[in-house]
């Protein structure tokens, strides 16, 4: 167990293992995305209520779901890097931030695009939408904080602290926003988040969600590898690596 932890802490090992993982995960991801998208977009019947506009769900829902998970990956990595002082952990944290932010943004945009035909409004102050927006701010905060520091070692520590504070707060934020929304019960639109989805839509949706998880992992690992190379550029093994490539 500890040896594994120890290995995790060693850049060369992580670099190499992540390389191997990517080698087979990347193709799978691509295939899953293509199949899921094709299935959802071409081989399912249009929704009786929303016609074809609903098909964006195969982009929107996965993005939304994974972006949420992304924050926890980031936060937990941050916690580990603070508590066990593990270099690779804060690399993971920093790699997760932009990916998560991008997915969050995608969920927002697709949602807004979807909202126009469905609610006749680009945006409504629904619980989910609001908390999604807040999640985007949390991501941007971590990224901006890291960018603002000149001393990157200090920067990642700072981000870890922020992410940690985030983990404590995110559940509270989500609960409070949900509760706030249920309390007000606006007259205008109800967000039919829990409405049952026909199984013919569900399976491709599931596939898309899985594909997005895989995509997130790939982006995370690729990001980490880049950071590792940059941080270890002075060390022997990187030098050797480069000379091999050249």
């Amino acid at each position: 167990m500890w040896s594994f932890f120890h290995k995790l802490g060693s850049p060369p090992w992580l670099f190499q293992i992540s390389g191997q993982i990517l080698r087979w995960l990347l193709p799978i991801t691509v295939v899953a995305l293509v199949v899921g998208a094709a299935w959802g977009l071409l081989f399912t019947s249009p929704d009786f209520r929303q016609g074809n506009s609903y098909r964006i769900i195969y982009l929107h829902v996965p993005a939304a779901v994974v972006s949420l998970a992304g924050y926890y990956v980031m936060a937990i990595a941050g916690a580990i890097s603070l508590i066990w002082k593990m270099k690779m952990a804060d690399i993971a944290m920093l790699a997760a931030a932009p990916v998560g932010a991008a997915l969050t943004f995608l969920a927002l945009v697709t949602g807004a695009i979807w909202g126009k035909p469905t609610w006749g409004a680009w945006w409504v102050w629904d619980a989910r939408l609001t908390s999604m927006l807040i999640l985007l701010f949390l991501y941007l905060g971590v990224i901006a904080l890291y960018e603002a520091y000149e001393n990157k070692a200090a920067a990642s520590k700072a981000c870890a602290v922020l992410a940690l504070v985030g983990t404590v707060n995110i559940p509270i934020i989500y609960k409070s926003v949900d509760w706030w929304y249920s309390l007000h019960q606006p007259a205008s639109i109800k967000f039919t988040g829990e409405s049952t989805i026909d199984s013919s839509m569900l399976y491709p949706l599931m596939l898309c969600i899985a594909a997005f998880y895989a995509l997130f992992t790939c982006a995370l690992l690729a990001n980490m590898r880049a950071t590792i190379l940059d941080r270890e550029r002075k060390t022997g093994w990187v030098q050797r690596l480069v000379s091999e490539d050249a």
Partner: protein, 201 residues
């Protein structure tokens, strides 16, 4: 007494903005030592001092092992312009507490007699630094790390500060200071030279 050093540093190295300032630097401060850290502008003196003081936790490699409470005076004097000279020392953030009489004596030693109640913002550049230097006449901490203590201080001031350093060393303290002026009154001072950093042509 001098058996155990007050501060011991081994193989210190620091890199800033991609430049290696110093490397494999060993340093040992025993009771009674006065060490003059010299070097051109940009050599890395302040960086080293802050590292030794423990203020740059992420910015160095090597081992530091300091066995005594540290009195650190840096380029920035933690002097608040709105507080009077006396108040600045009375509630000093470093956590040392002094009685008002002791403070007034110290202020008199640094030539601020009659300024006890003057807000520091109304003092001249050198006088503001003197408020900070008054701690050298108050603090009980044995290990002094002083970054440019003579900055903006007039000649008379420089002399009596050197006298104070000697006194402190005799009483079993240790002083590590940077300065671009020679310590003409401190023959016993040891030198550590950092030879990075470009000088004027």
């Amino acid at each position: 007494m001098a058996a155990t050093p007050l501060l011991e540093a081994e193989a210190l190295g620091a890199e800033r903005a991609g430049r290696q300032l110093f490397e494999g630097l060993d340093l040992r401060l025993d009771a009674g030592d006065i060490v003059h850290l010299r070097g051109a502008n940009g050599a890395g003196k302040t960086t080293l001092l802050r590292i030794l003081a423990g203020l740059s936790a992420y910015g160095f490699d090597g081992r530091i092992n300091s066995r005594a409470p540290i009195l650190f005076l840096g380029h920035h004097t933690a002097v608040k312009g709105t507080l009077s000279c006396r108040e600045n020392l009375l509630w000093h953030p470093s956590g040392e507490r002094f009685t008002e009489d002791l403070i007034d004596v110290a202020l008199q030693r640094v030539g601020l007699l009659g300024y006890e109640y003057v807000p520091a913002s109304q003092l001249s550049a050198g006088q503001q630094r003197r408020v900070n230097l008054a701690r050298l006449y108050l603090s009980k901490r044995p290990l002094w790390l002083l970054d440019e203590p003579f900055a903006a201080i007039d000649t008379a001031g420089v002399q009596s500060l050197q006298a104070r350093f000697a006194e402190h060393a005799e009483q079993g303290g240790a002083v590590l200071l940077t300065s671009h002026q020679a310590l003409d009154a401190l023959s016993q001072a040891r030198f550590v030279d950092l030879d990075g950093g470009p000088g004027l042509e």
